[in-house]
Symmetry: C2
Subunit: 555 residues, 2 copies
């Protein structure tokens, strides 16, 4: 019998619903719904008051609009009967978290709290909690907390307790009004099933759950006495496993989407993690890189090692029975977009792109592809959005060196691409240096299919071949695969992957002469990486601190 599942991929700017045939993983219908309020980083909707620097919020109502719009549109595009849909699953950015009431109502839906920015969803790239992250790390180091090495020695400002502590310290009225603090991905599943669950993946990677336990209440109390009971007061110690069924679809949610009530809704998942089985990786040694606005590096291991600067290693965090490693780069596609839109690129390149009938990134890619490695004389650090791995420091910032009066925009564009490739090489080398072998590299996400030059540069810089995932929407496929497991179509995610995963036959090989030049440039990159990133010159931090003082912002 033909059965379908729906995977919904919640991204930074939009949500995408994909209808998948559970027999072979074929994508038979897709629809995208852009978030009405997008990324809220200038001011709250309906307000003129500017948000402080480094803030990035979202509107949870936009997530529901994806259910109401993208899902029916995807079913229509697929041309199937909604009755043949047996399950639904989602994946999300993380840590993207929000405060809600006991019935699941987001605090930003409540008129009296709506004008307080802390009542809204804090998006993954909200970077204003670096002070809290520093405090979390310092306290953990002092107390010798055993979980810290599992996170590369540093908890990121992007993660759950950094953001939760920021609410507690800066907006106690919001903290007190919140009955629950939870990941947006779990909140959406709650809206679909009427049941509050916490997925083991974000609990492990973002909320410091190791072997089933959060950090102790004593630890949280050492951070702030009033924060000691945060877990018991605002969270839950029950975790739902990936691939399990969170509940049945409620009548209300079924009506939103035009689906049958009661079908299986899979436990919430994360975009990067769900992509690993979607590209067919179900064993150790392959690093899957999900490349988009940012890049996540996912790796399956058979034991836990301490790797400098990794985001985390969590048992069962990606695949049951294995240790899932995560590392990441906070800015990749975002940096290219920033440079094109604001950095910026002269109009002549936009005009040329228009004449050629291609998008500006494609045009710059073509121009940049004419350059040989080293020819521009430029070298950049890829920290325009901070550094997630291996320095774990959102207060770092971008740098570019080598400009002359002859420097042109496509050279700068290429330098930023190269910078992100050096950043990936640092991560790969950190894993290998700490005893976690990387035998294969698999590229997924939106960037690799858009930008051929990018993948060649990554291959040349790392000196390694890259397999390219062919699934256009690997995360949504992964979510649909987990829905198929939750619906009982397959007994395990490995079994689902054997039938549904997307093949990755295209391989990009490094060009030896280019690698020889990039080895030299990488040496220069590492020197600057350590100079600016390891405390020899903290100018990036000083500049941000001074900026915040001048703007009158609490750092």
């Amino acid at each position: 019998m033909t059965s379908y599942t729906i995977g919904i991929d919640y991204g930074t700017e939009s949500g995408r619903a994909v209808v998948i045939d559970t027999r072979d993983g074929r994508d038979i219908g897709t629809a995208v719904h852009a978030y009405g309020n997008g990324v809220i980083d200038q001011h709250l909707p309906g307000s003129d008051r500017p948000l402080p620097p480094e803030w990035a919020l979202q509107d949870p109502n936009d997530y529901l609009e994806v259910l109401k719009n993208a899902v029916p549109a995807a079913i229509k595009a697929a041309g199937i009967s909604p009755d043949d849909v047996v399950g639904i699953g989602i994946d999300f950015t993380a840590c993207t978290m929000l405060p809600v009431k006991a019935d699941g109502t987001p605090l930003c839906f409540i008129d009296s709290l709506r004008s307080n920015p802390h009542s809204w969803v804090k998006l993954w790239k909200h970077h204003a909690a670096q002070g809290q992250a520093d405090q979390i790390n310092e306290t953990a180091r002092k107390r010798g907390e055993s979980w810290l090495p599992r996170y590369g020695g540093k908890i990121s400002s992007e993660w759950f307790f950094s953001k939760a502590l920021q609410i507690y310290q800066e907006a106690p009225e919001i903290y007190n009004a919140a009955d629950r603090l939870l990941e947006a991905t779990d909140w959406v599943i709650w809206q679909m099933t009427g049941v509050e669950t916490r997925n083991a993946c974000t609990a492990g990677y973002k909320a410091i759950v190791q072997d089933g336990n959060y950090p102790s209440n004593e630890y949280f109390g050492a951070l702030e006495p009033g924060f000691a009971n945060v877990v018991d007061a605002k969270m839950s110690r029950d975790f739902a496993q990936l691939g399990a069924k969170a509940g049945g679809l409620t009548a209300q949610a079924a009506a939103w989407m035009g689906l049958k009530p009661g079908i299986a809704v899979a436990v919430a998942n994360v975009d990067a993690h769900v992509t690993v089985p979607a590209v067919g990786v179900v064993g150790t040694g392959a690093m899957v890189m999900i490349m988009g606005t940012s890049t996540c590096h996912m790796l399956i291991g058979d034991h836990a090692e301490t790797v400098e600067g990794m985001c985390g290693v969590v048992r069962d965090g990606i695949l049951p029975g294995y240790y899932g490693y995560e590392a990441g780069q906070s800015g990749v596609g975002d940096i290219f977009a920033w440079y094109v839109n604001h950095g910026g690129v002269p109009q002549e390149y936009f005009d040329a792109a228009k004449r050629e009938g291609v998008d500006i990134h494609k045009h710059l890619e073509q121009e940049a592809a004419k350059q040989r490695p080293g020819e521009s004389g430029l070298l950049a650090l890829d920290w325009v959005n901070g550094n997630r791995s291996i320095l774990v420091d959102a207060d770092l910032s971008g740098m570019i060196v080598g400009m002359t009066l002859g420097t042109r925009a496509p050279e700068i564009y290429r330098a930023f691409i190269e910078a992100t490739a050096y950043g990936t090489r640092v991560i790969v080398e950190s894993f290998e240096k700490h005893g976690v072998p990387v035998n294969e590299l698999v590229a997924a996400g939106g960037l690799p299919e858009k930008n051929k030059l990018l993948m060649q540069i990554y291959a040349d810089v790392t000196g390694r071949s890259f397999r390219l995932a062919s699934a256009k929407q690997a995360p949504a496929l992964g979510a649909a695969m987990h829905a198929a497991v939750a619906a009982g179509v397959y007994p395990t995610i490995q079994a689902a992957a054997a039938k549904m995963a997307s093949p990755t036959n295209k391989v990009v090989q490094p060009i030896k002469e280019n690698t020889a030049i990039y080895d030299q440039l990488y040496g220069e990159y590492v020197k600057l990486h350590d100079y600016f990133g390891r405390g020899e010159n903290d100018v990036m931090k000083h500049l941000k601190k001074l900026r915040n003082q001048v703007r009158g912002v609490t750092a």
Copy 2:
């Protein structure tokens, strides 16, 4: 009796002729002629072959076109009789030099030599002779040459013997074909008078003449055996003093310009040096900054001190009887233009400028003026065109740090302005540290009148007030003042200045709170300045070297 002189200011992109009333220095007629071949830095006119990086050439015929076009137009604009013009003087960029035959014919006018880039004029900002400069400095240090400290310890790649040695080493056929090597400013005077002269100013500052002597033939021989006789074979040991008459205007040159033959033509001069008396500075302690594409810092002292990184100190080099100090920044307005045209600035700002009916620089200035010091979180090094003072190294390059995804173009624009202000503060502090007091700062040139924000930032960064020269065309006025001395209207340049110099009444005061913030940022600047500029991390040099290797260029 009313008498007029004409001053011609030869800039980087155009020549400007100004008719001046010798009684009061009033500018009564101006005309500009843009060089047809402009700055030749991509390929020679009529050729597709790309020039190597760092090259910057000019066409000497463009200089004659200025005489033929701008001078008659200025006379017409002044509405005077050409018969009332009693003298003519010029000032020029320097070191801008060329190889010519014994009759003054530039080698690039000769068909068989024209396709060799070395036959053309090497413009001041030709930076491809850094290898030769390094060799000149190393040999001088080894031999303990007494003149080296008079040039801040380093001869620049921009200067005469760096460029001459480059011709000798890279194009011996051009070197051998040249009967004379000389400054373009002297060449133009030769074309006007029929007499070859060498002005004492460029001889002193650019061709290492101290107390009437070049470096010894032994020194040149130590550089390259075949270069030992460069002075006797290609140059002259006779120097003409500033303000003296080089000769009378020839009939041919008079016909070009519509002037009377035989009128006094002043000895050639340099744009920066000639500006000092033009803004009324005829004594010690005032630093005159001539701010345009680059900035020259001119200072009159009563004795010679060794100042790190100064371009030179020359007796009688600016004013008779005094020691003239020169320092400089290789890129100022050029950096802003580069950023606007290529770095670059998004179209929305050009559109906004158009809507407001202002030029793009004015619009960005307005946007940048809305920012407070430190607010952007950015810090740049002003070396996009190399560093002339105090590091004297054309192989240094630009750097900017602190970019986030929130960084916008006007912030980058302001960061580059601030960087040039920090560069000036380094120079001022170097003079004071080495015993040459700077009691007053006077700003002249094109930039200060165009950009109010710029002058406020300079005052805030240095914590000093700036007097602004009111003469729109101070260099041309200075050239006309020297013409008045050459014509015998005044006995000395001091006497001419007393009547003709332009008053400088507008003063920009530093804002104390801004200076407090800039003091912090300057501390960060100095740390990066020393890190990248004093050998701690030679990444800028490594990048240029690699670039040249990849491009197949001789460094």
